[in-house]
């Protein structure tokens, strides 16, 4: 899969790239909503791994841009260090939620849920 990772914590972003690449995925990393939206306009990603807190704002902006048709809709795994319950609007609008810290099994399960 071609995965866009939008995560502003450099270490987490780098390690996600390593882990996902080792699992056979093609990975592109960005740290801001603006970069994510620019790339989503230009490139056809299979999945977006989206952190809720990005450098220039809330990652939900990216999901909203998809809902409004500003960029093409893609499956989204939302990553967050906040507690998010199943009724939270953020959880409903994303295809899957990963609460940090997560392990590879949880990451793979979230990706599978999106590609099913």
């Amino acid at each position: 899969m071609h995965i866009l990772v939008a995560e502003d914590e450099a270490m987490v972003s780098h390690l996600l790239n390593r882990v996902l690449s080792a699992a056979g995925h093609t990975v592109t990393n960005v740290g801001s909503c603006r970069e994510a939206l620019e790339l989503l306009k230009a490139t056809g990603y299979d999945l977006v791994l989206l952190d809720l807190h990005l450098r220039d704002g809330n990652g939900m902006r990216v999901i909203e841009a998809m809902a409004e048709g500003v960029v093409a809709h893609r499956p989204v795994v939302l990553m967050t260090g906040d507690f998010v319950d199943a009724d939270d609007p953020r959880a409903i609008r994303a295809n899957a939620i990963l609460q940090k810290p997560f392990d590879l099994t949880q990451l793979e399960q979230a990706i599978e849920r999106c590609s099913a």
Binding site: L15, R55, N58, R61
Partner: protein, 210 residues
């Protein structure tokens, strides 16, 4: 942004920020261990290549958080004796900027020399935290501006970062735990810390007694 005099609210925000930030280095440690497992195959878990350094950097993040919460707790209980010595505000800012250089570049507006008697080492660390917090809760561009002055016998430092017209969002959720630790230190030295966002710019302002 809660009323800055509401200490209970600040304490709740600080605990929330701490819990949130704890999760980032823990996520990195999980990933490093997964990579080590992939590389080790059926062998015993073995950290090769750059994995030890990545693990060390993640643990350093946890250690920083542990230091900050311990300092905050001890300051609030009056268990830290501040080492007040004569120092220059400009020098303190330079030291803070150097410590935060990986996260943000500080530009200091021209100012008259300002000196006071403060805990030099801790205040320089607090400035580093406030520079990071300003960048983090601003537009994250990595450019932070500081302005210095004197008002009502207090030294005033304001940090600013932002982009005009930027979307409004809650400030405290973005500041990070370092902000709360730095704020406690400034208050322990008889000062104040406030923050506000206007027209897209985030401004953190602190005062210190002269």
């Amino acid at each position: 942004m809660p009323d800055t005099t509401d200490e209970d609210q600040f304490r709740r925000e600080a605990v929330g920020a701490f819990a949130h930030e704890l999760r980032t280095p823990l996520t990195s440690i999980h990933m490093v261990l997964e990579l080590a497992r992939m590389q080790s195959g059926d062998d015993e878990l073995c950290l090769k290549g750059d994995l030890p350094d990545l693990l060390k950097a993640s643990v350093a993040g946890l250690e920083q958080l542990a230091r900050e919460i311990q300092d905050l707790s001890r300051l609030e209980r009056g268990l830290i004796t501040l080492q007040a010595i004569p120092c220059s505000l400009g020098e303190l800012l330079s030291e803070g900027a150097a410590a935060a250089a990986n996260d943000a570049t500080l530009t200091v507006a021209p100012h008259e020399p300002i000196s006071g008697t403060w805990d030099h080492r801790r205040l320089a660390e607090a400035f580093a935290s406030l520079i990071r917090a300003t960048n983090r809760a601003g537009d994250g561009s990595g450019e932070v501006t500081a302005r210095l002055g004197i008002r009502d016998r207090m030294a005033i430092v304001s940090f600013e970062n932002g982009t005009p017209g930027r979307e409004p969002r809650p400030i405290t959720s973005d500041l990070g735990f370092g902000f709360f630790a730095a704020r406690a230190l400034v208050i322990a030295q008889g000062g104040t810390v406030t923050c506000e966002r206007s027209e897209g710019f985030l401004q953190i302002t602190l005062s210190l007694p002269l």
